[in-house]
Structures are given as structure tokens and as C-alpha cells.
Amino acid sequence: MAGPEGDRLIRVDMTNQTVSEEPYPDEWKLLGGRALSAKILLAECDPTCDPLGPDNVLVMAPGVVSGTMAPTSGRISIGGKSPLTGGIKEANAGGNPGQDLMKLGIRVVVVTGKPSDPEKRYGLELTTDGMKVVAADDYKGMWNYACCEKLAENYSKTASFITIGPAGELQLTGASVACTDQQKERRPARHAARGGLGAVMGSKGLKYVAVDPGRARVRRPADMKGFSAKCKTYTKDYLAGPQMFKTGTSSVVPVANMLHTFPYKNRTEGQSPDADTLDGKNINASFEERGGEMHNCMTGCIVQCSNIVHDAEGNYKTSALEFETLTLLGANCAVASWEDVADLDRLCDEVGLDTIETGAAIAILMDAGEMEWGDAEAMKKLVREIAEGTELGVAVGNGAVSVGVRTGHKRVPVVRGQAVPAWDPRPLKATGISYAIGPMGADHTAGLIVNPGMPADQWAQASQEVQLVNAVCDSSGFCQFLQPTLDDIREYYGLLYGEEVSRQQIADQGWECLQDEWEFNRRAGFTEADDDIPACLREEGVGPDHSIVFDVPLDVIQQVKTRFELRDELFAAKASG
């Protein structure tokens, strides 16, 4: 095999707490991240299984180019059957575990089974010295930051960590999987947040994974000279360009508000009166006085979209405070202060929760009259309650649908059980189609199209194409914010393995990934009737006179499942999430 040799597939049996390894199949060499996760889940996971039972399969898969010198390429995909949606799920994160696994030649970790004693906690060690499951009862119940501080004390300086917080241990369906960033403190600030995969990890008794590549070097491409040249040119061109994400996603607030996609009060409005105080400009302005900065979450990132936020005393508070979090835990709950949202973001990272799902759940609670709009202190108390496992805490920690059921409230903006992200399907119809029919449910990273003027006859094809491009990107290890095109990715792959990767091949990979995921969902019991946006977003509008509703016909949504002819433009389209 050309390119990296000796790659391995690691199997972890949590019923017996054993680890084994297999050579990584050569026919899968161009599969990584999301596409690899989908392939394994379709082959090895019963789609009708209990997502929190022993038959669910938890996949941890870095991208194809992770661990190489390629810029911003260390994303890791976490996959499994989602306890939130009941369908297939892939959520990916930055930080360093993806890079470190690949430096060890570990292409994927497949976790199965479940310990007989649900009170036991375990850690998985993957190092240059070997692989084993170890007892981790003394980490039980720890919040993510304390957990990672303790891990940092007990493992080498070169290790990175994948952890869950109390929400994952409680198997709450809004639970995230945390990855440590590349700062020397190794903070658990990067989350594979969506779909409740933290609960799947918790159900297997796995509190952490420690990945230590030691002095292992970056992966060596087959065409070293060509690969190096590509990295150099790509980086140079990127840095000479506009670098639109240099101030972070939080800077998008005013644009989103202008476009009626900055939801307020459980999406009853598309604009917030607090857009100015929630604007990321305030975060960037705080750097001078308080410290904090923009930084790269993973080694080798040239985008540097991640902010480090300090409090008024100049102490670290959280990272990264993103647009989605400012929207769902901010505007959507009528919270006006970015600093309150920063507190809530830190709490969610600590407890191990998806900020989108948690914000949406709390907004429904408020909309149902069970909490005051904008009461940030009550929200903070509630997130702490989630960690304690109180009755209300569990309801909110289980996400938007759970709170809808508890309150009997009808305005529950979810698709296939997953809360709709900030980007609103009403002004952004093609994005709405991605939410409705995408295998992941309402997930902006699977198919975001911010084009409110797009003609109706282009929606379905645009949605299919962006879903395909993003599926390839999420399989490559590249961050979507680097905005690689399919041509870029296939060129990197070709140089990595010393063989031509055609346009048809790379496009087919994206399509096959979507097909695998749709097939898993079909076997799990989903039908065409599930491919829609909730009634509240079809009936209640945003914008002038609340006139902008989601009004895409169902047959247009279904067009996405039939492959459109390949266009040259597809290969120049940038990943967009």
C-alpha cells in the first residue's frame, strides 16, 4: 500500500474491558471521519438497537489527512446511533485527539458492549506503549475541566484527552463528547456536541480516552515533495485571502440578525433586540483589557477562529464562545449579555452538554411559562442541576423534545428529535431542506446555505451539493472553516497516497456517505414522513409581518435523495458549516 503504512483499527469491548487491533483495511484508505463512521455503523450496528444498550457502536474516527502536515486537518468524528434522534449520528470536533490518534496510526476506534456494573467507570489508554482499558472510578462524576486537569497530572505532556462530563455519565441525550484543545492546559473546550453521543460513551462506562503519541512524528505522505508543496501553497493563499473567520463565528451575529436568522424567544422572532450586546465584537474588544485572544484549537490550524474568553478579573472563563451558543443560549432565551452566555457556555462544557440542544430546551421551558425570559442566573442554576440529575435537570438535559413533553408545550422546533440550530430554515429555505432530509436531523454543519435570495428551482440541488461537499470535508479531517473544495481534498488525498483521485471518485465518496446514513435511518424505521420541518416553522413566520415561513413543498425536499448530475461548479464549492 502506498502512503502511511501500518495503520490500525482498534476494537474496544467494554463488556470485558479488552482492546484488540486489526490492520486497517486497504480498501478503506480514503475513508475517514464521517464516511468511515457511517460505513462501520451500517455494517456493525443494528439500527434498531437501544442506543444506550450494549449493541450500539461508538466510533471515534479522525479524518484521512489528520496527523499530517496539512493545515487545519485534525478534526475527529464521533459516531453512533443517536439516543436523541434514534438515527445515525456523526458529530465532529477540533482539538488534538484526532491528530494524535493518526500519529499513532490509529485510523478508528470502535467501542462496543457495556460493563455489567453501571456504577463502574473506565478509561481507555492509547499510547506508544500499548492500549488498555483501565479503572477510572476516581474520575466518576467529575466535571470536564477538573477531569482533564487530573488527567493532565497523570499522563504525559504529549497526551490529549476525549472525555464526558456528568451529563454523559447520566446518559442524558443532550450530552456531548469533549476533546482537549492544543493549549498547554489541555482544556476540554472542543465538543462533538450534537446528538447525545456523550450519553452513548457514558452508557459504555467510558469516562475518558487518553491518546499519547509521545514523540511520534506527523504522518509521511507517499509524495512528500508534492504534499509539502501543496500545504505551502494552500497556506500561503489562505493567509493572503480575506480570512473571514479570523474574528470567530461570534462576529456573525449582526449579519444573522439582519437576515432574520438570529432567533429570539424560542424562534417567535427572527431578530433579537439584543443583537448589539450579544455581538462578538464585544468579545474581541474585551481582549485588550482582560486578556483572552483568538487562537487555534488544534495543532497546525491556520484559521484561528476560536476565541479564549476571560472574565472581568482577567481569568480564563471559556473557549470558544461561538455564534450558535450566543444564539441558542442567548437570544433564543432572551438573554442580553454575552458575558452571561459565556458563563453558560463554560457550564455546558463542564457538564458536557450541547449548547444548541440545551439552549433550545430552556427556551421551550421559558416559552411554556416555567421560567422567566432572560433570567440568566436561573439558567445557570438549571445547568448545574443537570449535573446533579434532578427531575427538571434531567428533563432539560435530555433536550428540546423532552422539555416539550414535560410541559405539554407545542412550539418545539426540532427535526427528528434534534433542536434546530441558529440558522433558521424560514429565510434560508435550502438550509431548511438540509435539516429536513439530511441524515443528521437539524444540523447546520451538514448543509448550511446562507442565501436568502436563492431561486426555488435551485434549492434541492444546492442542498444536495452542500451536503455532499460537507460529508467529504467531514471525512477528510479538514475543518469546514478552512473551506477546502473537493478539488483541494482529492489533490491532498492523491499526494498522500501517491495515486490519482478523480473528481468522480471524490464526489462518489460524499454521495456514498449520505446513502449509507440514509440507509441506516431507513433500517432504524424512519420514513419519508419524517423528512420535514416542524409545523411551528411552517405556520409561524419571521421577518416583516412575520411573513417568512418555511413553505418548501415536500416533493422538493424529496428531490435531494435522487442524485443530480455532477457539475464542474461542485468541485470549486467550498465546505460550509
Partner: protein, 89 residues
């Protein structure tokens, strides 16, 4: 005639049009010409004080414009490109 390239996020007012041919001898004049054709476009690019929105970057024939971007001279065959910061997160 110069052409103004509209970013996807700002194509609501232009009803999906990506490239608009206009008359104008400066960047500002070109943007104002788009506004005349498609009301609602200009406030997305320029704030109430007449400055370029901080989340917008302007390019002329592929070169990023800095201070004084709006006053930059535009010739008949030039391309004015508007870029808007959009990211998920």
C-alpha cells in the same frame, strides 16, 4: 459596465442575482446603483454612518480594498466583489 458581485448571504434583495451590471465610477457609486435596482441591498454593506460594515470586505478585481474603499475608482471593465463573513459555529 462594471459588475458588482453579490455574496450569497446578501442575495435576498437581489432576488438571487449574483452579478449585477451597473454604471458608476467609484465603488460607492456602483453599490448605490445596485441599491437603486434592488432596494435593501446597500444597508447590508454600508452602515448608517456611511462606513463599510465591519463584517464586510470589498475587493476590486480580486484585490482587497482597505481604507477609502468606497472612493476607489472603478473602470468600465472592473469587478467589485462584496464578501460577507458567514460561518456556522
Amino acid at each position: 459596465m462594471p459588475v458588482v458581485q453579490v455574496p450569497t448571504a446578501y442575495r435576498g434583495p437581489t432576488r438571487g442575482e449574483a452579478e449585477i451590471l451597473v454604471s458608476g465610477s467609484t465603488v460607492l457609486a456602483c453599490l448605490e446603483a445596485v441599491e437603486e435596482k434592488y432596494p435593501g441591498f446597500l444597508p447590508q454593506v454600508i452602515d448608517a454612518d456611511g462606513a463599510v460594515q465591519r463584517f464586510v470586505k470589498l475587493f476590486l478585481n480580486g484585490e482587497q480594498l482597505g481604507d477609502g474603499a468606497l472612493d476607489a475608482e472603478v473602470d468600465e471593465h472592473d469587478r467589485v466583489e462584496v464578501l460577507a463573513a458567514i460561518a456556522g459555529g
